[in-house]
Amino acid sequence: MEARSEIPPGTLYMLILKTLARLGSMHGYGIAQHIQQTSDDVLQVEEGSLYPALQRMLIKGWVLAEWRQSENNRRARYYALTPSGRKQLIRELREFERVMAAIGRVIQPA
């Protein structure tokens, strides 16, 4: 097994939202693949957390789901951002940057 890092807690929603913002609309497998590839295989999304997260986002109204034919002619559920999902992404990004900056200040060599 290659060494993979766990996704930092609380950032999964942000990663999914960002992926969908970039790809337009995508099915679950595609989202997981995209995150893995763009992170150079550092971040691995567990199916066990991906699908519950997507359901949660459906409830929150951040994403919409729709069944479509995929590029290789399979029926797949595609997720797409809603306006409120877009707003949420901005909120999450801002929050993440704030936290990262804070962490950076703490671990900076004096």
């Binding site: 066990g48 957390s49 359901q55 409830i59 399979r74 559920r77």
Partner: protein
């Protein structure tokens, strides 16, 4: 809000969601398999499919509800696993809740329910009160009066002039209306006779109550005046039954006691008058009283002007903004002045009645007087039952907690959150309480039905329909649920506080501080259960003994195989000689019925709660006090003493010689002879009826004492006099016939009806029953009490035993290894049994000591319900105590025996 909507939609399309999730997962796996090149690898890496589906679902349902579902499922499984525990807990709760709801629903129906009239809260009943002793201004009184606890007297009846005065001269009522009970009347509709209860009402009665007619018009002011065309308002039920609710009934003529009345209208279906237990079928204007009652009262003309004849009841409707207190203040002076003016001397004026107003919203209070005290006693009892039931639930939960501490430890050590475990245990207690409550509704409904039967006591026109009171049910359920929560919580918190390691090992050292305290609590519960059980057992014992005593009362005649029924020919128009002849003819016909041994008649049934009294004049014996110179009286027909089998001790019975025109003769009982002719033979002596009548009655016989009015009261002096000769002193009216039969008396009921119909179809036969049933009916309340209390006591005892058993069983479980060591060291099995039983006995002794003190203090409140024994009857108390000790030993023996069977090897290895 939007989220809730989406969740709801999800819930509706649950199955589609599952399908889609499955498809999504398959799609994912397929893509993955393509990437990995093998399905197995994909599967392996994918992990726990069920879990992620479950997690996805949980997103929608919310973890909370998902877990509630789990808890309920688990709780139900636990309940079915411990069937005995569940049955005990649910049953005791159901009985507790059900009994309380039933009794309190009745309480509500009797005490609190308002009349179905407009603004019942404005209605006021006008009563009067008088101090103890005679009220000389009341020379004549028909209606009702009640003894107050202080010896005083209360009555709702007034002379007509007083009614007119208060009706026409007051500033506090918008209206005052009067009414009087008309008794049972002979109603002839289309040639068919029936007996129906009637009510005299003043012209303002219906208007004052704010009643609207169901058809036609109600009696108004124009109907209630001398010379008006006689009209009646009939009850809805009569309209339905006899006229098929046809409007053609209006304007029809019916005969009431032989007088024609026009039906003017019909009262609404829910209206039953102002006196809840009875339901008059005809409402007659007060001024038509003479048409209906001419036979009984020769005073009809003077009734409306006599200031000393108390007979009409009244109600007023308060003007808006006027309080009961202000009305009382405004009217009492007025009434005092009036009533004082009717007194003829200082002495009479000194003890005149005083006006006393009472809220009238729930109607006349005869029912409340009759049933309120018994209901209070029953209420106390069921409240105690509920307390025991709750204590039982608590105890069972505590005992079970002990048994499950290992299970809890396992769960906690496997990583279950403490809150999660507490919640699960709480769910279980709530499930118990709720199922108890659900079953309790059933018990309550059955209870209400049987209580209605008990209270109605065979009366077919009993209008007190108590309905299941949901507020009461809710309250009792809340009590039960609160118990479940409090003790469920206590047990849950304690269970989860266990020190995991020792609990898992189940060592002796596992008794933490919490456990010792719990042990004490369950002991406390058992002790109080035993105390309360003793209280109920003692009460049951007292009532059962009372019933036994009443049953063993010697009535002085043979009550078996006597058919008893009522015939009232006076209401069909018979008078004087014709009336006497009618009854004589009937009597002869009855005697000829095959299967009838003898027949006789009396003007009132014996030992049926009714009596008739009169003053006596004895030559040479002066009245020191009016009260003492009275006697009870029965007008009897031929062969009375033979039929009823009352032995004649001296002289002769009343027989064919004692005709109307012959010397007036009487047979007296022993009490009469001893009271008025002490030490001498009464035969041949003379006395007179009333204070001023001539001394013209000769005593020809002495009869052995027989019960007269009731089983409970002492036998009064009684005079038996022929119905043919009584007319000179008391007008004859209805007649009760007693037929001694060879077989079952009731088998002759139809024959009797046919015979009477043959003689005159306009005279109905009423109240067909037997003499022994009539006597039984007078002690119905005592029987009800004895039965209910025995049930309650048995219930309480059972629950206390279950509680005791649970406590001891738990104690034994807890001490398994200790007992094992004892036995390994040579303790005898017998000693082990005794060790456990001793604890049981100590608990029982403490409970009994407390209970006994309570019994000693409280049974005196039952005094007025007892007969032939003292409230602290030693026999009853001893029996109650022994039964409880026996039950305690019984409940404690099983755990004790189990303790003695512990195998020391197994017990010690258990660690």
């Amino acid at each position: 809000m939007k989220q809730l909507w989406r969740r709801l939609q999800w819930f509706v399309h649950r199955s589609r969601f599952e399908r889609e999730l499955d498809e999504e997962m398959r799609h994912h796996l397929a893509l993955k398999a393509e990437e990995r090149g093998s399905v197995e690898a994909a599967n392996r890496q994918f992990g726990n499919v069920t879990l992620w589906k479950e997690n996805s679902r949980a997103m929608w349902t919310g973890r909370f509800w998902e877990q509630v579902g789990q808890d309920i499922r688990y709780g139900l499984r636990a309940m079915t696993a411990n069937r005995l525990f569940t049955a005990m807990a649910v049953l005791s709760l159901a009985l507790g809740i059900g009994a309380n709801t039933a009794i309190y629903s009745f309480m509500d129906a009797i005490m609190l329910r308002a009349l179905p009239v407009a603004h019942p809260e404005q209605l006021v009943i006008l009563n009067w009160r008088a101090k103890a002793g005679d009220v000389p201004v009341v020379r004549n009184h028909t209606g009702s009066s009640y003894e107050e606890p202080d010896g005083g007297k209360t009555s709702p009846d007034y002379p007509y002039p007083a009614y007119e005065l208060l009706r026409d001269n007051n500033h506090v009522f918008s209206t005052v209306f009067g009414y009087a009970w008309a008794g049972r009347l002979n109603l002839l509709v289309d040639g068919q006779a029936e007996l129906a209860e009637g009510q005299y009402v003043s012209g303002g009665y219906f208007a004052g109550l704010g009643i609207r007619p169901a058809a036609g018009r109600l009696i108004g002011f124009d109907d209630d005046r001398p010379g008006a065309i006689p009209v009646v308002t009939i009850a809805y039920s009569l309209w339905q039954r006899r006229f098929g609710s046809s409007p053609a009934a209006l304007g029809k003529t019916i005969l009431i006691n032989g007088s024609p009345f026009l039906i003017a209208g019909v009262s609404p279906p829910e209206f039953f008058g102002v006196s809840p237990p009875s339901a008059p079928l005809v409402f007659i204007p007060v001024h038509d009283l003479g048409l209906v009652d001419s036979n009984r009262y020769n005073d009809v003309g003077t009734r409306f002007i006599d200031s000393h004849f108390y007979w009409i009841e009244m109600m007023g409707r308060l003007k808006p903004g006027v309080s009961l207190r202000r009305a009382q203040a405004a009217l009492s002076g007025q009434f005092r002045q009036w009533v004082a003016s009717t007194g003829q001397n200082e002495k009479e004026r000194a003890s005149v009645p005083a006006l006393w107003l009472q809220e009238g919203g729930s109607g006349v209070d005869s029912l409340r007087r009759q049933y309120s005290k018994p209901l209070y006693i029953l209420m106390t009892m069921v409240a105690l039952i509920l307390a025991i039931a709750c204590a039982n639930i608590a105890n069972l939960l505590l005992a079970r907690a002990a048994a499950r501490s290992r299970e809890m430890a396992v769960r906690l050590s496997l990583g279950a959150g403490r809150l999660r475990v507490v919640r699960q245990l709480l769910t279980e207690s709530l499930l118990l309480s709720l199922s108890g409550g659900a079953l309790g509704i059933l018990v309550a409904m059955l209870g209400i039905r049987s209580l209605t039967l008990l209270l109605a006591n065979g009366r077919d026109n009993f209008t007190l329909g108590a309905a299941l009171d949901w507020r009461v049910l809710l309250f009792t359920m809340l009590v039960a649920i609160a118990t479940g929560i409090v003790f469920g919580l206590a047990h849950a918190i304690q269970s989860t506080k266990v020190d995991i390691t020792p609990a898992l090992k189940e060592t002796r050292a596992g008794s933490s501080r919490g456990r010792t305290r719990r042990f004490g609590l369950s002991h406390l519960l058992v002790v109080s259960q035993i105390a309360v059980s003793l209280l109920l057992a003692a009460a049951a014992g007292l009532f059962v003994r009372t019933l036994e005593n009443l049953h063993s009362v010697d009535v002085g005649f043979n009550r078996a195989n006597v058919l008893l029924f009522n015939v009232n020919a006076a209401q069909a128009g018979y008078k004087d000689a014709a009336l006497r002849n009618f009854y004589t003819t009937l009597h002869r016909r009855f005697q000829a019925i095959p299967g009838v041994r003898n027949a006789t008649m009396t003007h009132l049934p014996l030992v049926a709660g009714s009596g008739s009294g009169t003053g006596v004049t004895i030559p040479g014996l002066s009245a020191t006090n009016r009260e003492t110179m009275i006697t009870s009286l029965v007008q009897i027909g031929p062969e009375f003493f033979e039929t009823m089998q009352v032995p004649i001790l001296l002289g002769r019975p009343i027989d064919a010689r004692d005709r109307e025109d012959a010397q007036v003769t009487a047979v007296v009982n022993e009490v009469f002879a001893q009271k008025y002719f002490p030490g001498v033979s009464p035969i041949g002596r003379h006395f007179g009826f009333g204070g001023t009548k001539p001394v013209d009655t000769e005593i020809v016989g002495l009869a052995r004492n027989a019960r007269y009015k009731s089983l409970k009261r002492e036998i009064p002096p009684v005079v038996y006099i022929s119905y043919l000769q009584a007319g000179k002193n008391r007008p004859l009216e209805w007649m009760y016939f007693e037929l001694r039969t060879i077989g079952d008396p009731l088998a002759l009921a139809n024959t009797v009806r046919r015979v009477v119909r043959e003689v005159d179809p306009q005279v109905p036969v009423a109240d067909i029953t037997t003499q022994s049933r009539t006597i039984d009916a007078t002690i119905a309340q005592e029987r009800t009490f004895a039965n209910l209390c025995t049930c309650f006591a048995a219930l309480a005892l059972t629950m206390a035993c279950v509680g005791l058993y649970a406590t001891m069983a738990y104690a034994v479980t807890r001490r398994t290894s200790e007992i094992g060591i004892r036995m390994a060291l040579g303790a005898q099995r017998r000693r082990i049994v005794w060790m456990v039983l001793r604890e049981v006995l100590v608990l029982a002794a403490v409970g009994l000591a407390i209970g006994f003190t309570a019994v000693w203090q409280t049974t005196k409140f039952l005094q007025s319900f007892l007969f032939g024994l003292k409230p602290n009857d030693p026999l009853v108390l001893a029996a109650a105590v022994s039964i409880l000790i026996a039950c305690a030993i019984l409940a404690g023996y099983a755990p004790a025996w189990r303790a003695s069977r512990i195998d020391p090897m197994v017990a010690l290895r258990h660690e």
